[in-house]
Point group: D3
Chain length 248, copies 6
């Protein structure tokens, strides 16, 4: 099986093949692409909007080159619905997938995300995915996506917000609300247990999404054509190159 990751950003080095291969079954290959044109990171609906056309192209390119499934590597799931409409292979988003994984593992959960600029995005996703009654809180660490590499700061902020999610909000699980936070789930989970708290799962969205995508693509499941119907063909002005790639 081949799973392709579309990172909806132009910054190289944030989505790397080696971030995913840990979760790959024997025989699963991973490829990653980033955008040529688009935002350096996704921290608003505006960033999503300008990333989406190239994301769609990336999804179709991956399908063309033989991928069996695609993951859009961002918690906001930018372009997920449109990608499912135009692709014949299954497309997954870490926002949707992580919430369902959390709901499988716990009666409710909190989301720890980056900063205030995405606070508007998450309530909208939570409603779209029918998770209103399962979400305890959405908390932010106030670290911009492109500065998530500041390890000490991030560690401290994640620990603080995870403690508050656990103690004040009563979270039974925590989702790391940015795929750029990959690698921190185990630390946080251990930190909560080590500080005498009831252990709760901390969900790494990339681990959860990659493994579930691999699983469901493996059994041949694809998104519903009724939920994501094939777009009617019609004249499109401009965007010719995109359209040509899309074979439409």
């Amino acid at each position: 099986m081949r799973i392709h990751i579309v990172a909806p950003i132009t910054t190289p080095g944030l989505s790397r093949v080696e971030d995913f291969t840990d979760y790959a079954a024997p025989g699963t290959e991973v490829s990653v692409s980033i955008l040529q044109d688009g935002p350096a990171s996704i921290e608003s609906q505006f960033d999503e909007a300008i990333a989406v056309p190239e994301v769609l192209r990336g999804v179709l390119d991956a399908q063309e080159s033989g991928a069996d499934a695609v993951i859009i590597d961002c918690m906001g799931d930018p372009g997920l619905g449109a990608a499912r409409e135009i692709a014949r292979i299954p497309v997954f988003g870490p926002g949707q997938t992580s919430m369902h994984v959390a709901a499988l593992m716990a009666l409710n959960f909190s989301i720890l995300t980056t900063g205030a600029s995405v606070e508007g995005i998450f309530p909208d996703l939570v409603r779209r995915y029918g998770m209103t009654d399962q979400v305890n809180s959405i908390r932010t660490v106030d670290v911009p996506v492109l500065e998530l590499g500041a390890e000490e700061l991030l560690r401290e902020r994640l620990q603080r917000q995870a403690e508050l999610a656990h103690d004040e909000d009563g979270a039974h699980a925590i989702i790391l609300g940015c795929t750029g936070m990959r690698g921190w789930a185990r630390m946080l989970q251990d930190h909560l247990a080590a500080t005498g708290r009831t252990p709760i799962p901390v969900i790494d969205p990339i681990a959860a999404t990659f493994s579930v995508a691999q699983a469901l693509a493996g059994i041949g499941l694809a998104p519903s054509v009724r939920s994501y119907p094939s777009p009617p063909r019609k004249p499109v002005a401009g965007f010719e190159e995109l359209m040509a790639v899309m074979g439409r």
Copy 2:
């Protein structure tokens, strides 16, 4: 006051100034723009995705040229969230506005829309806007957007589906689920009453959205910066022109 209409399509003649001036208060001016590049009509999430970048440009152009409010002229509200993030003037979408108007006027409602390709869009909107318990049904007339000019066919299909929404689904109100259906609300409302049914309001999304946008812009209300935060500035590759226009 000046209200600008961004039609998120490239087809001229579907959104006309005169479609809105009926609802304009004395002193309100209306302007309309269509897209240069983009889809001929919006009938899928894919169409929305490729329309949105130019929609955003249209919103910013309108703001630049002194508009007091903008309406994105499509029931799917493509780009509404992103537009609210980047504009200082209020932006409205007919999907969201019509549902709130319907809920103000009736205990529940049905939506009559164009065809199967948008059947996936509406349940998603209904959830986002918190209207799940108010919606009786989403019905389609199976007429593509670009063929809505076929008057006899459309009349017959609208009547049939409105009757079913009233009789089978128990709708207390009906929303016309495509802004291209403007002008048919009165006919449908009269038809239901003339055929001995309990009268119910049929909501023209353009009338409802224009008049409410004009009203709320008139009292100085703008969307919440907390729901639609200003996007953090950051490097953007490509899209230079767009970015320049946006003054970012």
Copy 3:
């Protein structure tokens, strides 16, 4: 257009024509009536109950004398459903209208109201209007309606509760939960922004309701006869005068 305001109280001077004319379009006339018999203010379901018969009379009087729409000037919307059943012109309530306006402008909102005696009324309204998942909190300033004129006290209390709604409850918007609080929205909105908080809209229920009522009446929308059917005629003992006025 003529919009009539029924203040469901006997206290003169609280609902004044000049409170509404700011929001009136050119050509819109405003008239106001108060009750002859009834409570001095509305601060309980009991107050509402004894006000409603005269409110209904006021609505019918307004219709009789040529009004195009009526607003019942109280956040509890006393008599709204019954008024819609008996009137041919549209009737609006600021409770219902303000919540829909808030939901159009923000992902969620808090309500700031007067005192503990109305704390039971708001959760009930929130459920009736399907807003449970949109409401962050209902907070009170602990100032009786008839003492809302105590400017310094009110300002201080409103600021304090608005800060808490913003900071503790995470409100993306605030509704002033008493029409007697008209005039304070701008101050509160500015206060929150001036104190370094993310700006959020503060909704004046009178401005929101008057402007939306004017807008929807202007396009000829009326409440659904299926949600608000005309009451069957039948013998009524007593209440003759009321009935006579109602032409029933």
Copy 4:
């Protein structure tokens, strides 16, 4: 214990002591009062509105004369909230009580009520009482309240609608949606079983409400003062007699 029934109508003979004594425990006394002024029956929110002031007086009269609990004998629960605010004894409504009893006995239920004029009332009650996800359907027999004595017609219509609620709507229980339908529950229940259907409970609202009111009053439970706070005292113009009776 003494339980008083306030029938919120002026028609004598519809609420009779003997309708309740079957459900009275040894030692429970029943008294019934009707209105002097008010509607002949309740079939609209308008009817409710003009009945409520006298209903409140009836509740206070009952308290004055030593009743331990009051039932407002109408499925719309007219005046229930206001009555709970002003009375020291518990007040019950058959709408609210029957829905909770049905939800105790079955996973979901349908309501069979009188005619189209109350179709607007029930969805509102269902939302207020948080029963949206438990209600399958609201069906009507199209028989006015004052003609419920037409036994053959009523039997036939009830059977037909109960069959449809069972077969088409999948109801796991049925509530008779008018207290004037008392006495028909057993027949309907037997009819459904006798026609080969899975047996489901049919709930007589009077039996359910009287027995639960008696039970809860018996253990000293009273409605929450926080949900139904005591109304602040204040000047009231007119309604002197009412106020005097109310000891306010």
Copy 5:
């Protein structure tokens, strides 16, 4: 009438006939049985699981010996659904019954229960019974079931958590979340009022459940066969004795 109480535990003396007779109408007899094999107390889903087979036997024994209704004496309602499937007499659970009683008496409520080990059980019950929007909080006193006899400790902890439920969570009512807490409701209710708080009902689950069970059994209501269908007969290996008792 005879009401039998099945205490789903092996510890004698926790469920006593005299705990129920206060709520018995004249002519109602009470009997109590405990388990021979099973857990000493119920504090987990595991405890429930191993208690349930004997609970079912206890329900059938009670039916055999002429009981008119059965109550399973534990807030988790262990075996309630299965018991309703196999018994011809109505079976009640204090978890479900108390929540409906609380919702009849107040707009929302909190639950005070024993310790962290049941914190997972309550959110599940709340969802099953459709009470998500009515529950403010679930709080624990951190006292194991078998130590609820430590009066001073329990009193102090109950008071503290009730105060927090009232003040922090805004509870309009409180349910004692363990049938072993019987007898404390009045004290708590008085404590809240005596400390200057708005009075709210505190619901003793045994009082509420016994009185409602007696009331509904008294009017011949039984759980829906459609919600709780009779289990198909089929071969069962082992459990012969159980099966024999069950007459299956």
Copy 6:
């Protein structure tokens, strides 16, 4: 990795290792156990109740013998919560897992299950798992579990109910509501497409649950200890052998 399947029934041959190995990644071993004592099939809450103690033993036996995850092979998820409380390895149920997989793939879905006796179980599961707004309908083929081998009958009934779920209920996906229906998903999916319907995914619960369990166990995720706390140790009468096995 080793995944153990506990079939909560005594009938041999219904859960076979070879039913799962198709979905096993290289290196994943599968083992299956059935019950010694218990029901021949699960078709009621009663069947579940008497199966659960042995299911728990089976889960602990599997853990003892080195399994990395356990699946309880029944759509009703009997004993899932209790098993998660007592096991250190993750335990999955096909009811819960399939619903989350369906919700990942489609905006809504229907469930096709065996017969009327489980119609009460599914609405309860749907509520527990927070899926109320995603479920279109629950339909039955009226074939007992132990007769699912009647291929022609089953095919015909499945096709008929799937068509109705698609056409009448508007399902965007279908879940086969009995793990004994394994193997039919592809046929049904093809049948719907072959008959000119919009293709929708038909979810085989075993394929979905095995592959997701394998995926999530593979990344080390385990159910939340806060949702499924370890049961407090305490005296247990009888069930000694069970307890001994459990090492408690």
